[in-house]
């Protein structure tokens, strides 16, 4: 029938592939920002509202960027934060003001606060960040730093290669130089990542997961779940995921969405998604919750190690990054079947090799004329529905889909070279002039 027919046809222009009811994730590079770090970028973190971002690097510095109304990013602060590579940077919830935390190879974590500066600084688009505290308890590289969910107050968590998770609290939100070490949890294995369960539901106590990148498989489960106990006022281990025996590089609880169970994504030698279903507690039980652990999905498409996993805001998409140099996007349909719906892949043509001039727009790599048509049409895929107006010219896949010349913008209208790969639908990246957004809010 129909579905079989068009599937086997697979001509190049039908690159609208996806999974049932998952929808198409056709993406493009809207803009490229010259980050200007002098060394590898290790982490990029958006703030809560998506208007600011922080980047950190092996060059020991952190940069803060602000997004202007027209969508361009401007670097408003750049300063040396540590005496070693900075691994992670993260924002506190805006309820606590403009606060960042960073962690480093130099065995410390630090908390930074933005100071509202002089008016001429503001005009120049600059702001100042000052260090509020340095956390020096770790004996080894601090591999991750995360703020706890805001309903717990202003709490910062670090984990280190020495296998210790430390939870600090700032009791006075107006005085960020005072932090006390509330909990020190020894996980016995070198820790690489932590993730708090973001749920603020009273149905269950505060909970976080720790991942270990210890590569010795005989040491058992590399993911541990800790839960807060109201009676003892301490965190106790609730669960170890024994089926995860390989080094874990990243871990992420999904936003909760009112479910009774928890969802945890893990970056190890593959991408794994677990469901943790709390089992009913007897009233006399004082220990941590017992969980039924189910594996929901497992993907080894990255071929080797997976280094990062992260959920989008609504937990409808999971992104992962791996040794294959790709970022993959995973989505569940409404029957809860997970599939890969998109891949972001380097095409071998980096724009800048050095810290070039800061540009908001990148130059076009390759041509993709029909995607500029998209911009103007506002919708893609129109071209796929109608019979070709002319037979395609030899050597041009998309020749018959050329819009009228008046609609062609900056893209060079050179014919696209036929793809060598099997994948029939690689869209060239190109810069898109942002469509003018007519009215302000």
């Amino acid at each position: 029938r129909g579905s079989l027919q068009w599937e086997s046809a697979a001509p190049a222009q039908y690159c609208l592939h996806c999974c049932w009811h998952i929808g198409v994730i056709i993406m493009f590079v809207a803009r490229s920002i010259a980050a200007d770090h002098k060394d590898l970028i290790h982490d990029v973190s958006y703030d809560f509202h998506g208007r600011r971002m922080a980047t950190c690097s092996s060059d020991q510095s952190v940069k803060v960027w602000d997004k202007s109304e027209n969508g361009e990013w401007h670097c408003t602060a750049s300063w040396k934060t540590h005496s070693g590579s900075v691994w992670r940077v993260t924002w506190a919830h805006p309820e606590f003001g403009q606060v960042l935390a960073s962690c480093s190879f130099d065995r410390t974590a630090a908390v930074w606060e933005e100071i509202v500066g002089e008016s001429n600084d503001k005009q120049r688009g600059l702001s100042h960040w000052i260090k509020r505290t340095t956390l020096v308890d770790s004996r080894t590289s601090v591999t991750d730093v995360k703020f706890a969910p805001k309903h717990m107050g202003l709490m910062l968590t670090t984990c280190s290669a020495d296998g210790v998770v430390r939870i600090y609290e700032a009791p006075d939100v107006m005085n960020l130089s005072q932090w006390s070490l509330q909990h020190e949890i020894s996980c016995k294995l070198s820790c690489s990542c932590i993730s708090w369960n973001p749920s603020s539901s009273r149905a269950h106590p505060a909970m976080f997961a720790v991942g270990s990148d210890d590569s010795n498989v005989t040491y058992g489960g590399k993911v541990q779940i800790y839960e807060y106990n109201e009676n003892t006022r301490k965190y106790a281990k609730a669960e170890t995921l024994m089926t995860v025996t390989d080094a874990v590089h990243d871990i992420a609880f999904a936003p909760n969405l009112g479910r009774s169970f928890h969802v945890l994504a893990i970056a190890t030698k593959d991408v794994r998604i677990f469901k943790l279903v709390p089992m009913r507690k007897e009233s006399t039980s004082t220990g941590p919750t017992k969980f039924e652990v189910q594996i929901v999905a497992q993907f080894d498409n990255h071929n080797s190690q997976v280094w990062r996993v992260s959920w989008n805001i609504t937990s409808t998409l999971l992104a992962s990054s791996g040794d294959d140099g790709c970022v993959r996007l995973w989505k569940a349909n409404y029957m809860d079947n997970w599939k890969c719906t998109g891949i972001l892949k380097g095409d071998g043509s980096p724009l800048t090799g050095s810290s070039g001039q800061p540009t908001a727009m990148s130059t076009v790599v390759g041509s993709s004329v029909q995607t500029s048509q998209n911009a103007l049409n506002g919708m893609s895929a129109g071209r796929y529905f109608f019979p070709p107006l002319d037979p395609p010219r030899a050597g041009t896949r998309y020749g018959h889909l050329l819009p009228p010349s008046s609609l062609i913008e900056h893209c060079d209208a050179e014919p696209i070279q036929p793809q060598q790969q099997a994948l029939p639908h690689r869209l060239s990246s190109r810069a898109l002039l942002p469509l003018p957004e007519a009215e302000g809010q």
């Binding site: 027919q5 990062r308 998109g342 390759g366 129109g382």
Partner: protein, 538 residues
Amino acid sequence: MEEVDVEPAVTNIPAASSGTHLGFAWGPGDILVYETLYKASGTGSGDIHEVRKDEDIYSPILRKLFNESHHIFVGLQTIREDLPSKNKKPQFVSISKNYRSVIRACMEELQQVSILLAIELIWNLCEVLFIDAAPAGSLLLHLLDWVRLHKADVDEKAREVLQSESPAEHRDYWDVPGGTQTLTEFDVKWRHWHEEVDRCLQDNSFASNKHLELICKILVGDEDTLLEHKDLLSTWYHFLVTRLLFCHPTVKPTELHYYAQSCLTMFLDSRSVPEPLDSILLAAFEFDIHQVIKDCSIALNNWWFVAHLTDLLDHCKLLQSHNLHFGSNLREFLLLEYASGLFTHHSLWQLAVDYFDHCPEFGRVYLELQIERVPLDTERKALKVLRICEQRQMSEQVRSICKIMAMRALRNNRLGSALSWSIRAKDAAFATLISERFLQDYCARGTFSDLDLIDNLGPAMLLSDRLTFLGKYREFHKLYGEKRFREASKLLLSLMTAKIAPRSFWMTLLTDALPLLEQKEVSHHIVRYAVYGQVLSL
């Protein structure tokens, strides 16, 4: 319904294709991607790439589509459930036509062949087959309208040719079925006429006039003849309706898919392949609603169409043929996807709120999650967001937004704004903190800022002790300024005795009391206080 396992779409990033990892960070509506190396040393710097879904929400023309369809959507949700279905059907058809007219309005603005044409084509067919559920007889008429509407480039000549033969001998044919005669009556007449023409063709009655012969062949629906003139019928569905018109005008809905499939096959020559549109239309002719929705989800980079159509079909109770859960979950899933997409837009997010409101299972929690992330660029926008949260008793979101605004104001030393946001957040601790600042300010400068706010606190004053003190202390100053010394000193005394004065402020209060000692009628109160104060400070 088998799942099609398809390749995911690949997006190229201008980054090295080997020897590097790609780091990423989720944002609202986009994902940032950059070159990095995990657990390895290396040098390198690079760009951060903002990767976005190819989205239509930024098109000014489609904004009209989103706005107006939102209006129709909300109207549809409020149709009364208790009406009998025969009353509801015309309403649903009317709503369907409304949606289509919005699509057509946008089509005119876009002025070029676009996805909207396909969407309208599909929607129109769905309306005919599913919503209006035309029975045999009127079905063909509806299909004729459908094809005519979309046959923008019908060759004028062809029409002339077909119309030029409206001769007396065929007059009977052109009687509209379903007028005064029943379907059966029409069918009988039509068959009789068809046999007549066929017989004439067989015995070469028209041999002398090739033109007439051709027309008659067309009129009896001779497939070969029709196919020979394929160029006049640019699509297989035009061919289908033409063939039905001439061969099976009383076609039943259940018979459609046989003809559809064979017409598609006949029309496409061996070189061409069916396109996604073809399979969608075929699925519609097969009355396979779920397949239509599925194929549309795949073919379109936007949830607008499937979300609204599925919602309408769900209201027509057409999605419950499998099992209830399946139907309602699908509708909600698509609406949530569509609305979530709107939420990243700086003004369309407000439309999304209504969609979430009509998703009973997850709408509220999705709204809670996403509305918190709306950037609070201005007070006005913050108030807009707040109103939405307050209307829905989303108290935690209200508190959080007010707290964010209060914190921002405090950092910028706008104490009045900070205080008013804290009060709205019902955040006693923060109100206390800000009141302290006010009092410190007073001690430093001798005056209050934001007098308007403090003077008009009203019952909000009771939020925290410190705030109450601030309000009352300011009142003391007012009374003093109006030379109402007796009341002023009474108030001052009550402030001291009620113990809401912070210790640090007692000296200030005593200092304030000094000039009152001059006033004879109040002096004894002050003396009493001075003693009291002495005792307490021990």
